[in-house]
Symmetry: C2
Subunit: 405 residues, 2 copies
């Protein structure tokens, strides 16, 4: 008898019919003897619908009120799923983030979990009930409602799996698992049975949108095993956990991300503290910077390029323009016509030559590399957005990722 | 500087545009120096939408889960209104029923308020903020969410007005106030400046759908002054409060209700305990009975007629059929083609002859009266539904209600 935390995303509970299908899946596991905790996101595009309503009444909605608003979406989904399961004959009870014991700090819209108090949840489980939890939300010490930011429902699931010492945290999603590359781009991409948390982290932050890095980080730190599965079939999916023998594989997969934009601040004074000034100002405005590249100095000045989420481009440009004089820059250029393609694999650490193979493959495909950033287990290349798909295909072929290892 | 509790119904906050209009109305009062607490219902038909979702996933949704689900509607409205007001330059903060201190018993879907703890609400008011409260909902001692049942948002408003010792509780609705009759039926119906709670209670339960009786009852008991006003203009509306000199008016208004149906149980044994048996069975099935009429006995048997909400007719008939043998009835007849027309006024108490005038007016209009029930301040007549409008007009004219007193 395992204790299983399952998470279903918005597309899995988008309609009453789909909610009933999820109810059946949960019940099947319950009948097999598993104790079930189910975390749900808001139905389909209801979150976008709520955001749109907020935009219509306010230019800059107060974050606290946004949390009050957004938390409704998950509450609707959770109560409907609880009703559906109960209707099928097994008692289910829904819980808000607060009721399930997710305690957070007071940073509205991107709260961090500070404590887990699952006493009430455990009580319901021990009464033989299936517990449905509203994802994405928590509560502060003084009972203010908060939301956990992007990928919050995944984080809820992993955090509860940790707090309850669950056997597995299953992420039920609209894909079968983690692939060596996006199958829509690379038809012979292969589903991975196993991937390490570190690789998953790089894939997640490099645009493999199945899981947000926060939940993988939490799982890695806390030793929770995640399974990425499809909501729509019973295939085993991909397990995210550390395992022996994983080093043998050099490259695990190719990720791509078309949601970033590049900013170049030209002719910045090449003196200490300038980078701190620039990126400090961006951080103050809560703009996440991904890749940073600084060219060699010529005549006391240098170009600094970096990438941000395309959504943040306007705000980031404003910050750069305001600070332009202070950092002595000549001009600020923006390019949203880019894509990031990344090669990920823990084996890279001990295998030199991966970068060379990658650059050769891109060059043979006549693709120009605009920026490069590397980590121990990742090589990321910025290319023109029109070259993205070709770059992914070229790299997937170069590392023979279609072959079963 | 008055402390004002305002309530806006679903039709007043049905769209983002309407929410912004409400925000402007609230702000105007705030600028005039009033301290504002605003209770909102769910947007437009969103409550019906949520109910429909529940019906699609469950044949008999668990009441606790229904409360979790339904409470979302008001939360969406409250946060949007708070955002809209803040966007216009005055700080506003939204509160759930629980946060505003509405403590209830555990009867899900029709909870009763057991305690009011508005400390947190007062704190926010004292910080100069406008407080928006989700209507219709409360919280139990052990932090389970509940809803207050029909007319719950009005009850929230009155209860908070009482707890905060507010100067007035304004019900902003889609009508201008309380009229001597429905202006759609009687074009020269007159808006009343003032009406007593008792009269309002009779009007509310007799189909003047502006206010539910629970909120008026609460207001009467606790001495809260209610103002019924339009959300869409600045007319003063109607005040519901006790005032001297009100006795002089004999008849205050004519109410009508086309939502009831009549059941007649024929030839019931005329022995003690039979009525208790019949109406006990109906009560067990949560069917509210309005008028009850029992004819004189002939040969040890009597006819019992009563009215119920048309929605409950099917269920009520079932109950009657099941109990038919036990009460020794010959047959059970149903008639949903009825209307109830009521004459209401506190002055009636001391003015004999009102009933005679009413019956004469209906007779002259050739309208047959099927049932009559009277209270100290009301005379209710059941007529054929097709006669309803004519009956209202005949009574309105007979008591000269178009004349200003």
């Amino acid at each position: 008898m395992a204790l299983v935390v399952q998470k279903y995303g918005g597309s899995s509970v988008a309609t009453p019919e789909l909610i009933c299908r999820v109810a059946e899946r949960v019940l099947e596991r319950h009948r097999q003897g598993d104790r079930m905790v189910v975390v749900v996101s808001a139905m389909g595009d209801s979150t976008d619908h709520l955001k749109l309503l907020a935009e219509k009444v306010s230019r800059a909605p107060a974050k606290r009120e946004m949390d009050m608003l957004m938390a409704s979406g998950e509450r609707i989904a959770m109560s409907l799923l609880a009703m559906a399961i109960t209707d099928m004959g097994v008692e289910a009870v829904s819980m808000t983030g607060g009721q399930s014991g997710i305690i957070t700090d007071r940073v509205h819209q991107s709260a961090r979990i500070t404590e887990l108090k699952p006493a009430r949840l455990l009580k319901e489980l021990n009464r033989g009930r299936i517990v449905i939890v509203a994802g994405f939300q928590g509560i502060t010490d003084d009972e203010e409602e908060t939301t956990l930011g992007r990928g919050g429902s995944n984080l809820t699931a992993v955090a509860l799996a940790y707090a309850l010492n669950a056997d597995v945290c299953e992420m039920n999603t609209d894909v079968d698992g983690i692939y060596t590359a996006d199958p829509r781009i690379v038809p012979n991409a292969r589903k991975l049975d196993l991937i390490s948390p570190d690789e998953m982290l790089e894939l997640a932050s490099s645009g493999a949108r199945v899981l947000q890095s926060r939940s993988v980080e939490f799982a890695k730190k806390s030793g929770v095993t995640i399974a990425v599965r499809s909501s729509f079939n019973d295939h085993p999916g991909t397990l995210i956990k550390e395992m022996e023998g994983m080093e043998e594989v050099v490259v695990r997969g190719i990720a791509h991300d078309e949601s970033e934009a590049k900013i170049t601040v030209r002719q910045v004074s090449d003196r200490p503290g300038i980078a701190a000034l620039l990126f400090g100002a961006l951080a103050e405005h809560h703009i996440n910077v991904d890749m940073i590249l600084q060219n060699t100095s010529e005549q006391g000045a240098t170009d600094v390029s970096f990438t941000v989420k395309e959504d943040d481009l306007g705000k980031a440009l404003e910050v750069c323009q305001n600070i332009k004089q202070e950092v002595g820059a000549a001009e600020v250029l923006a390019d949203s016509d880019i894509a990031k393609v990344s090669i990920v694999g823990v084996g890279m650490r001990s295998h030199p030559g991966v970068a060379a193979t990658a650059f050769r493959a891109l060059s043979e495909a006549k693709i120009n590399i605009e920026m490069i950033s590397t980590s121990e287990i990742k090589i990321g290349c910025v290319v023109a957005r029109r070259d993205c798909d070709n770059a992914v295909r070229a790299l997937h072929a170069a590392f023979e990722l279609d072959r079963v290892d």
